[in-house]
């Protein structure tokens, strides 16, 4: 049997179970919409402004950029890891299989060191947050 039929079947279950639970809940639960109940939760304060328009730390963006580089790298390491042992077993020299990957990882490590020294992975608090910080004596 094709493996992907079984995986697809589990995907169907993975969608079907949540939908089934939602259907059961829709039959059971009450619905009493009120003003106030539907306000978003901000620790009891009345919400002000849009939530999606808030400013947040640029660091989230920096690490996401860095992630793209390393994720592409892992995609390239996967096939190398699979052929590594069989290639050695079939008599290919260690330097032939290992050195190119060492150079590849080396280049990426240089990139990581660069990003590290640039402060891409250092969490910087915004000047405003630093100014408004209350010091505990």
């Amino acid at each position: 049997m094709n493996a992907w039929i079984a995986i697809g079947a589990l995907a169907v279950m993975g969608v079907g179970i949540p939908l089934g639970m939602m259907a059961v809940s829709a039959l059971l639960r009450p619905g009493v919409p009120e003003q106030g109940k539907s306000a978003t939760y901000e620790s009891g304060e009345i919400p002000t402004g849009s939530a999606t328009g808030i400013q947040f730390n640029i660091q989230y963006y920096m690490v996401a950029l860095l992630f793209v580089v390393f994720d592409v790298e892992t995609v390239l390491i996967f096939p190398w890891a699979v052929i590594y042992q069989p290639a050695l077993a079939s008599g290919v020299g260690l330097a032939t299989v290992l050195l190119p990957m060492l150079i590849f990882i080396g280049v990426l490590v240089v990139g990581l060191v660069w990003a590290w020294r640039q402060g891409a992975v250092k969490w910087v608090s915004s000047p405003r947050a630093a100014r408004q910080k209350t010091e505990r004596s």
């Binding site: 049997m1 094709n2 493996a3 039929i5 079984a6 995986i7 079947a9 589990l10 995907a11 279950m13 993975g14 969608v15 179970i17 949540p18 639970m21 939602m22 809940s25 829709a26 059971l28 639960r29 619905g31 919409p33 109940k37 539907s38 978003t40 939760y41 901000e42 620790s43 919400p47 849009s50 939530a51 999606t52 808030i54 947040f56 660091q59 989230y60 690490v63 996401a64 860095l66 992630f67 390393f70 892992t74 390491i77 996967f78 890891a81 699979v82 052929i83 590594y84 042992q85 069989p86 077993a89 260690l94 290992l98 990957m101 490590v109 990581l112 590290w116 992975v121 250092k122 969490w123």
Partner: protein, 358 residues
């Protein structure tokens, strides 16, 4: 990979097709058998989650803090599972103002979907494995990563500042610890030379050393304990448990991305998170702990497998009770400066050792 063909036999859908005589119906019979198998596997996980979520989690936390926890309904308070399921499903669904509707509803479906999908390739022992594609390990990692998408959808669509911050933190944590996780997983592939889950389990059957007549199997946790520790740590971060539970951080951002979810959506998110913990434990067990291997006949495989994923669950609950939460800056720095560098060092060292020994 010469052993691939016989390994394809004995998958759960094949067994079901043989038992019910569905082989005569061609592809339609295959689909029915696959659906039945998937139903069994999904229910196995739902039962585990039902025990873990409303009952075991409370009991374990109570034991750590010297309390008793649920003990009124049924033996050991076990029927609280039923009571909680009914209670949570019959809660009113409060839809907050200004939520981004399709995305807000899709997020809670995606979380359990991604965690369940990962279990398609996990060998659970006793013939309980849905599928065994050659790309098994990559598939398991890929399926469990879909959850990030659900988290950011929930965070953004909730129209809540806490949710947005929680969603961003969740994605930042998944990004930072995904790479150490995958790279450490790859270091196991260097030993096995295949991504096929059943072959990875088989590669761990051989005897590693014999201590006083007791044969210790070649589990990769024994062969490379350093990689095992790294993998488990990255796994704990990936499923967002303490000390890496910064995406939820109740003292800072209420409940993070799930602040605005009630009723069945709350159940779905929790269901997804618990299945995700079990998936993390299952991948760790398959890669490092011999999968369903253990003393006794092979038919006991499912028992050992369940014990291993529950051990990982117990570890997350232990950490939850014993370890303080990291700050967000520490969290990012440990991920990018510590775990990433260590995981690459582990990969290179493993490659060199495997190369020299071979």
């Amino acid at each position: 990979m010469t052993g691939a063909a016989p390994l394809q036999q004995g998958m759960l859908p094949d067994t079901i097709a043989k038992l019910l005589g569905l082989g005569a119906f061609g592809v339609a019979g295959d689909v029915v058998a696959a659906l039945l198998g998937a139903f069994l596997v999904a229910n196995f996980l739902l039962i585990n989650t039902a025990f873990a979520g409303p009952w075991a989690k409370r009991k374990i936390t109570a034991a750590f803090t010297d309390r008793i926890a649920v003990n009124r309904i049924g033996p050991f308070g076990l029927f609280v599972i039923v009571a909680d399921a009914v209670r949570l499903l019959s809660k009113e669904l409060v839809i907050p103002e200004g939520v981004d509707r399709p995305a807000w509803d899709l997020g809670p479906i995606l979380i359990p979907f991604s965690a369940l999908l990962g279990f398609a390739v996990i060998p659970m022992g006793s013939g309980l494995q849905l599928a065994d594609p050659e790309t098994g390990l990559a598939f398991a990692f890929a399926a469990s990563s879909i959850a990030s998408l659900g988290l950011i959808m929930m965070g953004y669509a909730s129209n809540n500042k806490y949710s947005l911050l929680g969603g961003l933190r969740a994605v930042a944590s998944n990004l930072a610890y995904e790479i150490p996780l995958v790279v450490t997983g790859i270091s196991v592939v260097l030993f096995t030379g295949t991504l096929q889950m059943s072959a990875i389990v088989e590669a761990q059957q051989a005897t590693f050393v014999s201590v006083a007549g007791v044969a210790i199997p070649q589990w990769f946790a024994f062969v490379n304990p350093f990689a095992f520790v790294l993998f488990v740590l990255a796994n704990v971060a990936e499923v967002g448990r303490n000390p890496f539970d910064i995406p939820e951080a109740p003292t800072e951002i209420v409940a993070g991305y799930q602040t605005e979810y009630s009723s069945v959506y709350f159940v779905l998110i929790y269901l997804g998170e618990f299945i995700h913990i079990f998936l993390g434990g299952a991948i760790a067990a398959t890669l490092f702990l011999g999968g369903p291997a253990g003393p006794g006949p092979a038919a006991l495989g499912i028992v050992w497998f369940t014990a291993k994923i529950w051990a990982f669950f117990l570890l997350t609950q232990w950490l939850r009770s014993a370890v303080p939460r990291l700050r967000v800056d520490q969290f990012i720095e440990i991920g990018w400066k510590g775990m990433l560098v260590l995981s690459f060092a582990n990969l290179v060292l493993t490659a060199v050792i495997v190369g020299v020994l071979a």
